[in-house]
C-alpha cells in the first residue's frame, strides 16, 4: 500500500507565545511534530505493518522541518519529502498549501493519505480535506479507528463526542483525532536507521505549479495576545460558607447563572 502522511512542524504545546510587531517570535522556541500528525504517522506505520507497502511523510516549509521529518522516520516511516518553499513564497495560506501538496501528490497514486485533523498553531483544519478535494479522492475527518480490508475501509469518527461508524473505500484521505492510537517514541535503533533513510527536498520549480497560481487568498494583518487574565479572588472561610458565597457571586456579580 502506498501511504502518505501530511506533517506540520509546530511550536511545542508547552511554549508561551511571544508577539512583537504583529508577528509571532520563533527565536528560542522548541518545535515538534504537530501532535495530531503524530497519530497519523503512528496509524500509517501500523497500516503498513499489517498490509505491507511504504510510508512517506511529506511536509512543506523551510530546512528546519527536516528535524521533524527525521523524527517521523525514526518512528518508522520509510521515506520523507520536504517541499521547500522558503525562497519562493512569502505568505502562504491553506489554499496555497493545499495546492502545492496536491500538485506533488497528483502523480504519486497514494492509496491512503493521513494527516492530523488540525494543527495546533493555525488551527484551521483545512489542508487535509482541501488536498483530498483537489486529488478528487474521498476524505473522512477526525477518525478514532481505522480498519482496512482490501479496498474496503471501515472507520469510526468522532463527531462532537458522538461516534459515527462509516464505510468507505480506498483511495482515501483521513485526518486523525485523539484516541486513534498511542504514538510510539522513536527507539534508539530507529533513530540510527532514520539517518540513512531517504529525505528528498523538492522546490516549487520541481513541481508543475506557477507561484502566481498559488498566491494566498487570505492575509493576516495583525497578531496579538489576548488581554492577560487577572487572577481573581480565592474565597475564604469554611467550605460551606465559601460555596454559598460562590453561588451568590456567580449570580449577582458575574451574572452567569
Amino acid at each position: 500500500m502506498n501511504i502518505y502522511v501530511l506533517v506540520k512542524r509546530t511550536f511545542d504545546t508547552e511554549e508561551r507565545i511571544v508577539v512583537s510587531g504583529g508577528k509571532i517570535q520563533e527565536d528560542g522556541a522548541e518545535f515538534i511534530i504537530n501532535p495530531y500528525d503524530e497519530y497519523a504517522i503512528e496509524e500509517a506505520i501500523q497500516v503498513r505493518d499489517a498490509h505491507g507497502g511504504e510510508v512517506t511523510v511529506l511536509t512543506m516549509g523551510g530546512e528546519e522541518a527536516e528535524k521533524q521529518l527525521r523524527t517521523a522516520l525514526a518512528m518508522g516511516a520509510d521515506k520523507a519529502v520536504l517541499i521547500n518553499v522558503e525562497d519562493d513564497i512569502d505568505e502562504l495560506d491553506q489554499f496555497t498549501s493545499a495546492q502545492i501538496l496536491a500538485d506533488y501528490l497528483k502523480d504519486k497514486n497514494p492509496d491512503l493519505i493521513l494527516a492530523g485533523n488540525v494543527a495546533i498553531d493555525g488551527g484551521s483544519g483545512q489542508v487535509g480535506p482541501r488536498v483530498a478535494d483537489l486529488l478528487d479522492i474521498n476524505y473522512v475527518t477526525t477518525i478514532t479507528k481505522l480498519e482496512i480490508n482490501g479496498t474496503q475501509v471501515s472507520i469510526v469518527r468522532d463527531v462532537e463526542g458522538d461516534s459515527e461508524v462509516i464505510e468507505t473505500s480506498l483511495p482515501l484521505l483521513v485526518t486523525a483525532q485523539q484516541g486513534l492510537n498511542e504514538p510510539r517514541y522513536p527507539s534508539l535503533p530507529g533513530i540510527m536507521k532514520a539517518k540513512k533513510k531517504p529525505l528528498d527536498e523538492v522546490e516549487l520549480d520541481d513541481l508543475d505549479i506557477d507561484e502566481d497560481d498559488v498566491v494566498a487568498k487570505t492575509e493576516t494583518i495583525d497578531i496579538y495576545l489576548p488581554p492577560k487574565k487577572e487572577a481573581g479572588r480565592v474565597l475564604e472561610g469554611d467550605i460551606s460558607a465559601q460555596v454559598t458565597e460562590l453561588v451568590q457571586l456567580l449570580r449577582t456579580e458575574a451574572k452567569v447563572i
Partner: protein, 324 residues
C-alpha cells in the same frame, strides 16, 4: 459595496442549532446591508425556514433529499454547490461545528477561495470586514482578511451574538431539487455518547475534571452538577490519559477549545496546554486542594478544597437557589 451572503443553517434532531443564528448575525455584518440567504439541507427541513428568517435571514433556500438525512461531505457539497451556482454569492458563512469543519474546506476548494475558519469576532463590515480568530488554541489571536475572491468564514459557536428573534419578519422560503449521486461514504451507525445532548463547544456551562477526579466514578458528581446547570462535562488531558474519561471530553491545546459563560475546573492543576483551551471562558471557577495550583492564576473565583466535598455542596446550593 453590499454583498450577497449565504449562510448554511444546521439542525440537530430537527432543531436548528444556535450557531445558525450566530452565523446569520455574522452574515449581516459581512453583507454591509446586502442580502442574507440561508440554506438548509436535509431530508425534511422546509419547516425550519421561517425560524432562520425570524433571526435575520432575508430569504431561505432548502434542498431536501433522502441522501441528505445524515451528513456526508459528498452529499452536502453537491447540494450546497448547486445552490451556490444559482445564487452566485459574494460571501459564505458556516458554523465552525463538526459539520462545518468537515464541509467548509471542500466547498472552499471547489470555489477556489480562501477560508477563514473559527472566527470569534468581526470588526467593520461589508468590504472592510476583518475577522478575528484564535491561533495556538487561544494563546494568541490574529486578524485576517480575504485578499481576493469569495469571503468565506466559519464562526465559532457561542461567540457572535445572534440578532433578536423577531416573529414579525417574513421572507421567501423556496426549495430547489438537486440530484445527489455517487456518495463515497456510508454512515452505518451513530453511537451517541454525549447522552445529555449538550455539546462541549456550544455549552454555556462546563464542569471539567482533572487528575484530582481520581477515577471514572469520580466524574459522577461533576456530571450531576453539569446536568443541573444544563451544561456539559469536560476534562483535562491528565484525566483522559489516566483513562478516567473519553478523549472526546478533552479540553486544551490538543483537544477542544471552549468559551462557555461559566467554566468550573475541579481538580485541574492548570497546565499551559489546558489553559489554552479554556482561558477565554467568560467566568472561571477553580476548585483545587493545592492553593499554589496554576489554575487559580486564571480563575475569577477560587475555592481551595477537596472537589469531592465542594462539588456536591455546590450542586445542593444551586438546587436551593433554583427552588427559590
Amino acid at each position: 459595496m453590499t454583498k450577497k451572503v449565504i449562510v448554511l443553517g444546521e439542525a440537530r434532531e430537527g432543531v436548528l442549532r444556535n450557531v445558525s443564528f450566530e452565523a446569520i448575525a455574522a452574515a449581516k455584518k459581512i453583507s454591509g446591508g446586502g442580502e442574507v440567504v440561508a440554506i438548509l439541507l436535509g431530508d425534511s427541513v422546509q419547516a425550519l425556514g421561517n425560524e432562520m428568517i425570524h433571526y435575520g435571514a432575508d430569504r431561505v433556500v432548502t434542498v431536501e433529499h433522502p441522501h441528505l438525512k445524515t451528513y456526508t461531505s459528498d452529499g452536502y457539497s453537491q447540494a450546497f454547490m448547486a445552490v451556490v451556482e444559482n445564487e452566485k454569492p459574494d460571501a459564505v458563512v458556516f458554523g465552525h461545528t463538526a459539520l462545518g469543519k468537515d464541509l467548509s474546506p471542500k466547498v472552499a476548494s471547489k470555489l477556489q477561495s480562501g477560508l477563514i475558519s473559527d472566527v470569534t469576532d468581526i470588526e467593520g463590515e461589508g468590504d472592510g470586514a476583518v475577522f478575528i480568530r484564535p491561533i495556538f488554541s487561544g494563546k494568541a489571536f490574529e486578524k485576517v482578511k480575504i485578499k481576493e475572491g469569495i469571503v468565506f468564514v466559519t464562526v465559532r459557536p457561542n461567540n457572535i451574538e445572534p440578532l433578536a428573534h423577531d416573529e414579525s419578519r417574513s421572507g421567501d422560503v423556496s426549495s430547489v431539487s438537486v440530484d445527489i449521486t455517487n456518495l463515497r461514504t456510508i454512515i452505518k451507525e451513530v453511537v451517541r455518547k454525549s447522552t445529555e445532548g449538550v455539546d462541549l463547544s456550544e455549552a454555556k456551562v462546563i464542569v471539567a475534571g482533572g487528575r484530582g477526579v481520581k477515577s471514572e466514578d469520580g466524574f459522577e458528581p461533576l456530571k450531576e452538577l453539569a446536568d443541573l446547570l444544563g451544561g456539559a462535562v469536560g476534562a483535562s488531558r491528565g484525566a483522559c490519559d489516566a483513562d478516567y474519561c473519553d478523549y472526546s471530553l478533552q479540553i486544551g491545546q490538543t483537544g477542544k477549545v471552549v468559551t462557555p459563560d461559566l467554566y468550573i475546573a475541579a481538580g485541574i492543576s492548570g497546565a499551559i496546554q489546558h489553559l489554552a483551551g479554556m482561558s477565554n471562558s467568560k467566568i472561571i471557577v477553580a476548585i483545587n486542594k493545592d492553593p499554589e495550583a496554576n489554575i487559580f492564576k486564571v480563575a475569577d473565583y477560587g475555592i481551595v478544597g477537596d472537589l469531592f466535598e465542594v462539588i456536591p455542596m455546590l450542586t445542593e446550593e444551586f438546587k436551593k437557589m433554583k427552588s427559590n
